[in-house]
Symmetry: C2
Subunit: 145 residues, 2 copies
DNA sequence: TCTGAAATTAAGACGTA
DNA sequence: TACGTCTTAATTTCAGA
């Protein structure tokens, strides 16, 4: 899909405030509300904008423990299978196969260190996973997801 | 702040659709639109809900290269300083200090491998950073951020 | 792309339990 | 304190130019 300059400006405004009215966005980018809506609908259809969401403070909801886990997978299993293993747990925020020593990197948010330990055990217990190596997050710098 | 069961349900709905109307959310959780609005406003004030945003497909906007970079920082510098270094680059999606061997882990999105190399060089050139070790993302599994 | 009208929604005031 | 209802202003949505 073709994204022009105005589309990008619209995306920037909507990332900044996902509930901004089309009229407000239009005023900022120099279009009418309906023109903005049509562009947004088009980007939603094309998958450029996946959707809208509320940004929540994990700590406030009790997700106080955060960690990154490197995964080594068995020779007989594919990294894709390992990702599937990770995705089964609701504590897994993201998972990706990577270059380098480990095969995959998993981002986990748990309600406690104990909760994290449980997830780690379950992931490690899967036959597709040979070894794990985890690093607990001490403090957050940026989070621009 | 006290979050009750209904608040959590509201958060779930708004995470699923950040532009859902208060009436729609209310119908789902058994409240009137104004009651939902009051609760959402309260959660916004309390910082439980940080805001609303459009979820964008990075690939569609040209951010095709993704990587994780481990950082080792100089003895004279604090991990917090290292995070600040990372945060200066718009390509840095997130940064956190971690336990384990490395001092920090940085999540980067760049427009190309070349673009990523440039960021990596700049971060590595900072006096607070002693060493970096990066892993390029090969494929994404989940991304529930 | 804009305009304009109809339907929907947001936002706030008011009364109640 | 928290809820629902009601009212008004703003917004969305879709038609047509």
């Amino acid at each position: 899909m073709r994204i022009d300059d105005i589309d990008e400006q619209i995306v920037v405004r909507l990332r900044d405030d996902g509930r901004a009215s089309f009229a407000t966005v239009g005023a900022a980018v120099g279009l009418s509300a309906s023109a903005v809506k049509r562009r947004v609908d088009r980007m939603l259809d094309a998958g450029v904008i996946t959707g809208f969401t509320a940004v929540v403070d994990p700590e406030a909801l009790g997700w106080t423990t955060e960690a990154y886990v490197e995964l080594w997978c068995a020779p007989s299993s594919t990294p894709a299978q390992v990702l599937a293993v990770a995705a089964r747990h609701p504590q897994v925020v993201s998972a990706a196969t990577i270059s380098g020593e480990a095969d995959a990197l998993v981002h986990v948010r748990a309600t406690s260190v104990h909760d994290f330990e449980r997830v780690l055990e379950r992931i490690g217990a899967d036959p597709a996973v040979v070894r794990t190596k985890s690093a607990i997050v001490l403090s957050r710098g940026v989070l621009r997801t």
